[in-house]
């Protein structure tokens, strides 16, 4: 089986969580005032804070999602790496220092520093909550995805485990412990990724016909068009299953073994004009009586029983070599450029009686194609001739660029250092470590693609499975780090929400007077509450794609927060009403756009994409300028008398 529970991983995992919790309880003893709880007394050293930035930022989506996307589709996942890092430039050059000067606890403080308005606090507090909760969902889903194979627990146990641990961390110590957790995890993540990358380069590439379980996938033929495959020696003793129902218009061919009755699935492909081959496919079937069949047999749980084979192999290397041996950091790419890799596609088929089959089929792909942009469905628009398809891509890249500087849990980190210079220095450290990590993602993703250890059903597990193909201890370490990654990001988000509720909503917007101790208590109660909501959402959204949800959070953050933040810093004419309007319009328009988009129609509501009410799925290119426009128009309409005269 691809996921055999590993005792080392289990021991390592619990050790990691225990150390993390122990550290937070220990350091938590030092934070008593609300200053200490929310901003660690502003005394975190800039270098530690910088690495903690990396810890906060390199979430489950960065580590698991990007590696997985590269492993399954090639270069496209790297576009996310580039966009995520570019956002830091906005944060450093435009936002960091003024943010530090203006605010005290939260992003709303900074927005409101000039006006002391309840409306601004309310709007900014709500937008902080909205972005944080949306960003929390993929993290929680990621936690469940990780725990399932690692420890053998069901998805919901993983989500509850993360939720409870994080609530403990946050309630016990606040920003001090969260920062140290992030520092620890950020450094380990970068270090172990570097080790993994070095091992990939050392291992080089090798031609194989299947994955690391030793199973070799067959290719039959070629036969010329019109002749029958059934006569081939490999299919002796089988009978073709006539295509019916959903199988009719597919490239899939099925053969039933006359002796065992087991049905195998193959995909037909034309390799040259008039020349057809059959490539062995894998299938997973959910029958109406609740059974799961793998490649036609009842799915097993023990060694030797039916299960999907791990995949990811190179079928051709340049010059007809069978293995390359050690490679260089550039020859890694130039070798792959001239090789052929087997990627896997999938197609879901539903029979009239409700039986659902997913067929996973081989797609031998030229290396030059794997290393170019535009192969993933999200990015395929760039090869289209229609402008609208290209707009979707531009819109996503814009949201990634603008989103980082508006994420509340990143913004609050500017208040944990002592001054603007320290904020600047820690951002530089953050950029350097995050940038280094993102360079490694391309190696890790492509290494995973060719490691023979991929699970065709789940791209999120690519990085941990790659580590296991190297050695068991590395797998244990990477899984534990991936898990703490989720823990750390979730604690940061919960703290940001707690800060928003305590300062922006309760104290300022609703005008409740709280003393220091009460503020911390309100924040802790909020943390428990938000944590509980996150647990529930993590279970409910189990089936949703992780990176899809992250893109959502980035778009909302950029549309709601960035226009207000930038205009406040750079335009003297900005008014209170303008800020409130921009936050509200940016937040609702981006949310509304996403809810009405083709992606949401197909993935969430299960409706056809053609019913969608907006022309493309990514809102950023429309809603970010809309936020700016709203702010300018409303501000001009509400200029104070003195300024107008």
């Amino acid at each position: 089986m691809i996921y055999e529970p590993s005792p080392q991983a289990v021991v390592f995992f619990f050790l990691f969580v225990a150390i993390t919790l122990g550290l937070s309880f220990y350091l938590g003893g030092k934070a008593k005032s609300s200053q200490g709880y929310f901003t660690a007394h502003g005394q975190i050293p800039w270098f530690v804070n910088g690495i903690a930035f990396a810890g906060d930022y390199l979430s489950a989506a960065s580590f698991l999602g990007i590696c997985g996307m590269i492993a399954f589709y090639g270069y496209d996942g790297f576009l996310y790496s580039i966009g995520y890092l570019a956002g830091w430039i906005v944060a450093l050059f435009v936002i960091a220092e003024p943010m530090k000067r203006l605010g005290k606890f939260t992003f709303a403080d900074a927005l409101d520093s000039k006006f002391q308005s309840r409306g601004i606090k309310l709007a900014a507090g709500v937008s902080t909550l909205a972005v944080s909760v949306f960003y929390l969902i993929p993290q929680m889903v990621g936690a469940g995805v990780l725990v399932q194979p690692l420890l053998g627990f069901p998805h919901w146990v993983g989500v509850v485990l993360v939720g409870v641990t994080v609530i403990l961390i946050v309630v016990s110590a606040g920003m001090v412990s969260t920062t140290w957790v992030q520092f620890l995890k950020g450094s380990l993540l970068v270090l172990f990724s570097a080790i993994l990358t070095w091992m990939i380069i050392e291992r080089g590439f090798e031609v194989k016909a299947g994955g690391e379980d030793g199973y070799e996938f067959q290719t039959l033929g070629p036969v010329s068009t019109g002749s029958e495959f059934a006569g081939l020696p490999a299919l002796k003793g089988t009978t073709p299953v006539p295509p019916e129902g959903p199988w009719t218009d597919t490239n899939f061919r099925r053969f039933r073994n006359d002796a065992t009755g087991i049905v195998s699935v193959w995909s037909e492909a034309e390799i040259a004009p008039g020349q057809l081959v059959l490539r062995e496919a894998q299938s997973m079937t959910q029958t109406t009586d609740g059974k799961t069949l793998v490649n036609g047999q009842v799915k097993g749980t023990k060694k030797g029983e039916a299960e999907l084979h791990p995949v990811g192999n190179i079928t051709k290397l340049p010059g007809g070599e069978s293995r390359t041996g050690k490679l260089g950091f550039l020859s890694f790419f130039s070798t792959l450029q001239n090789s052929e890799v087997v990627l896997w596609g999938n197609q879901k088929l539903t029979e009239p009686d409700g039986t659902k089959t997913t067929v996973y089929f081989q797609k031998p792909t030229a290396g030059s194609q794997v290393l170019r942009p535009g192969e993933h469905p999200t990015f395929s628009g760039i090869r289209s001739t229609k402008l609208l398809d290209k707009l979707n891509f531009l819109s996503l890249m814009l949201a990634l660029f603008c989103g980082t500087a508006s994420l509340p849990h990143i913004l609050i980190r500017y208040y944990t250092v002592k001054d603007a210079a320290a904020a600047r220095k820690s951002t530089i450290v953050g950029i350097a470590s995050i940038g280094f990590f993102y360079v490694l993602t391309l190696y890790m993703g492509l290494g995973a693609m060719t490691s023979g250890s991929m699970d065709v059903t789940n791209s999120n597990m690519a990085a941990p499975l790659l580590a296991r193909s190297m050695n068991e201890w590395l797998f244990a370490a990477i899984s534990a780090i991936a898990f703490t990654t989720v823990l750390g990001t979730v604690s940061g988000l919960i703290l940001a929400s707690a800060g928003a509720v305590t300062h922006d909503l309760v104290t300022h917007a609703f005008g409740v007077e709280l003393n220091d101790g009460e503020k911390v208590r309100v924040a802790k109660i909020t943390s428990v509450f938000v944590g509980a909501i996150a647990i529930v959402l993590g279970i409910v959204f189990k089936e949703m794609n992780v990176s899809y949800l992250v893109g959502w959070a980035f778009s909302v953050a950029a549309s709601a927060n960035l226009p207000a933040l930038v205009m406040l810093l750079f335009w003297k004419g900005t008014t209170r009403q303008g800020i409130i309007a921009a936050v509200v319009v940016g937040m609702t328009s981006s949310l509304g756009w996403i809810l009405l988009s083709a992606d949401t129609f197909t993935k969430v509501y299960g409706l056809p994409a053609s019913n969608a009410l907006v022309p493309f799925s990514q809102p950023g290119i429309v809603t970010i300028p809309l936020g700016f426009l709203t702010l300018i128009v409303v501000s001009l309409m509400t200029q104070p008398k003195t300024a107008a005269e």
């Binding site: 580039i82 430039i89 450093l92 220092e97 550039l330 290393l371 942009p373 531009l394 210079a421």
Partner: protein, 81 residues
């Protein structure tokens, strides 16, 4: 000093915006240019992508090196001492 830092920040931001914008628009409107192999058999998509990451780190370092400590911070730090 604050003015000066902000001005340096804006200049460097514009430099990066040009680089990033160039990458995004090349991808969107001339994706085939990303497949050419300008150096060591590695395609432009990878070289430009790595270039953007290295450029971000370099610009960040330049910024950190050129910026002077804030007046306000200097005063505040002295008061705290």
């Amino acid at each position: 000093m604050r003015q000066r830092n902000a001005r340096i920040g804006m200049v460097l931001f514009c430099v990066y915006l040009l680089l990033y914008g160039g990458f995004v628009f090349l991808n969107a409107f001339a994706p085939e240019t990303m497949e050419v192999l300008p150096f060591a058999g590695v395609n432009l998509a990878i070289l430009y992508g790595f270039g953007l990451i290295i450029a971000a780190v370099l610009l960040a370092l330049i910024y950190g090196w050129m910026c002077k400590p804030d007046d306000e911070d200097v005063v505040r730090n002295e008061v705290e001492k």
